[in-house]
Assembly symmetry: C2
Homo-oligomer: 211 residues x 2
């Protein structure tokens, strides 16, 4: 990924937080035919390994666990907030007109060799942990043990585990850092006025780089 | 991508519509070191070629246009709505407990060999078309001609064009089709109640497959 230094987010805690709030990853794997991309929710063990470890599962019917070249690093793309930025939000437009549109986004690329896992205990633990992450905070959180044991047992037979110890991780926070300060403030304000969750999130991201 | 038939969206107009409403693509390219992913907004010429043609531009400073293996197909991933689905929304949970969480999402994979373009007219046309797409419908749409010509001229020198005639396109609409009808209706209703834009979009997608 092209990553100018002013767009690089280096704080591992910030990168991990994006993975945790946007867990549906695009998992790109090398195979004999080139590469393949699958979309699966990941859980992050933030403190396992130097950069954290990702866990997930795919359907056993998904050929990826057989076709993947496990000797090569795979890539998981986690996409955060993103939105079009109109130059109409820039005071510089009135000043001299030297402005153009852009697109803001945050994204994490996590690289590492994937291990394919068939161990039933590991699989049960992973679906339990995924459930805990997504059910916590909900009214009456659903638990894996709410389902009949033999039903879960059958499902575990139908999935295959993926574990990726992250060996390299980068974050691109393209959130107006290369614009004039007045234009950054104008962007943050205009996005805040739009008021929807995505615009508010991007407004906060733009503001967080204003100092 | 693993694509069970009940999750496949085959209507090219529906796939094109997702690209147009979610234009920030993850462009995955093969190179000597494996693959690279960059995130850029694409414009779709829906009627050029059998499956449409994608256009975009990258910074000239982005090495991708020099490192890409143009003889190999690249992939552009367009991600639509996506959300966690709790089994608490399923009436089947009360009936027999045989339910588990899942993740719903819509995604388009567009494959094709990328051409690298340096022609200034093409570049100017592409930024003009991108602008039109994103500014139309806004109050006082910004136009490329609003900026000084020499300023735009300098920017055009700093970008490189990408054109991808789509040779293969698939859509995965994982929107509860494999759940019991009552659970699909329960999911659509619960998402509608949440009321945010993303949940409403997914509620509509789940409902659209109920027949």
């Amino acid at each position: 990924m092209y990553l100018p230094s002013h767009h690089e987010e280096k704080d591992l805690r910030v990168l991990h937080a994006l993975i945790q709030t946007h867990p549906l990853g695009a998992w790109v794997t090398l195979d004999d035919d080139g590469f393949t991309a699958n979309h699966i929710p990941f859980i992050l063990d933030a403190s396992r390994g130097q950069h954290g470890t990702l866990r997930a599962h795919v359907a056993r019917a998904n050929p990826v666990w057989q076709t993947i070249n496990v000797a090569a690093a795979s890539l998981v793309i986690f996409q955060g907030s993103q939105t079009y930025i109109t130059p109409n939000w820039y005071p510089t437009k009135q000043l001299n007109g030297k402005v153009v549109p852009t697109w803001n986004y945050t994204v994490v690329h996590a690289h590492g060799k994937a291990k394919i896992i068939h161990d039933r205990e590991w699989l049960l633990q992973t679906i339990t942990d995924l459930t805990k992450q997504h059910e916590s905070g909900r009214p009456a959180p659903w638990k894996v043990s709410d389902a009949p044991a033999e039903f879960i047992d059958r499902l575990v037979s139908a999935i295959v585990g993926i574990e990726i110890p992250i060996t390299h991780i980068v974050g691109k926070w393209k959130v107006s850092q290369d614009e004039a300060m007045a234009d950054r403030l104008g962007t943050a304000e205009a996005l805040a006025k739009l008021g929807d969750a995505n615009s508010l999130a991007m407004s906060g991201l733009v503001s967080s780089r204003v100092d």
